[in-house]
Symmetry: C2
Subunit: 133 residues, 2 copies
DNA sequence: TAACTGTACTACAACAAATAATACAGACGG
DNA sequence: CCGTCTGTATTATTTGTTGTAGTACAGTTA
């Protein structure tokens, strides 16, 4: 059973949910480089959706170099995810800067902005305290 | 000419773009309480889209209490926007906390997170230095 | 050879968004 | 009162995207 999940009621297309889900799993290290993906037909059966939808998602993941495919063998997580990790790191910092700037422009005091950030970090710390490997 | 803009190529529905645009203008103070909105037909003509789409957007804005309508007179920005402002303030802080926590979990050092925030605030300062009223 | 794997293609169904065309009622100014 | 603006409501139609269905073909592996 794979970690990939979709919400049929969401207005985000299913194939895109799969793309986002796999990207997220790769970034979080829950799917390792060169690890084999579920086959198109197997994942389609598990999620109870059409194989073509999975194929579309895998095609997009390959285009984004998050997975690679070997004809007749299967699809695999990319061997080198450093580019993906760097992009994600940049995106995170960009979003953070954006939110901070917007909060400031909205008149929220700098002290409150900084307090929000430090408390969020403290909470994140508790959440990750244990349970790795 | 109104400040409301839409992007026909976006995958966000037009009526929703209008809702978001008006909400944003109200939050940023570019549309004042009790200010009259462009009429359904006038805005439809200006944006070159169907009046029904505008009507749908205005209906949703009224449902969200961002505007009110007077039969035969027109649509107007709500007199009291404090609820909207509070909600927005909360949403901003929530997004900020979320991004900070995610950055931390991703392994970005606390120092870098804090530096990103303070520099974003400094930049926002320059952008708002003058030009009010 | 059989049973997997990925890939490609066409046709069709389903749904949401947007359009089109009306119709009706309140407000306002002459 | 009349004409014209305003919002509101209704129904039908078109359009585009998403997803489904079915089929076919090629590479890999045992």
């Amino acid at each position: 059973m794979s970690l990939i999940r979709v919400d049929l009621r969401s207005r985000v297309p299913i194939f895109e949910q799969i793309v986002n889900s796999v990207r997220d799993l790769a970034i979080r290290g829950l799917m390792k480089p060169d690890e084999q993906m579920p086959s198109v037909r197997a994942l389609a059966a598990e999620l109870a959706i059409n194989p073509n939808t999975i194929q579309k998602a895998y095609g997009e993941l390959e285009r984004q170099k998050i997975i690679y495919s070997l004809a007749g063998r299967g699809n695999f997580i990319a061997s080198d995810l450093t580019g993906l990790m760097d992009t994600h790191r940049q995106a995170l910092l960009h979003a953070l800067a954006n939110d901070a700037a917007q909060a400031y422009r909205h008149g929220i005091p700098v002290a409150e902005i900084e307090k929000t950030v430090s408390e969020a970090i403290r909470s994140a710390n508790f959440g990750e305290e244990k349970g790795n490997d």
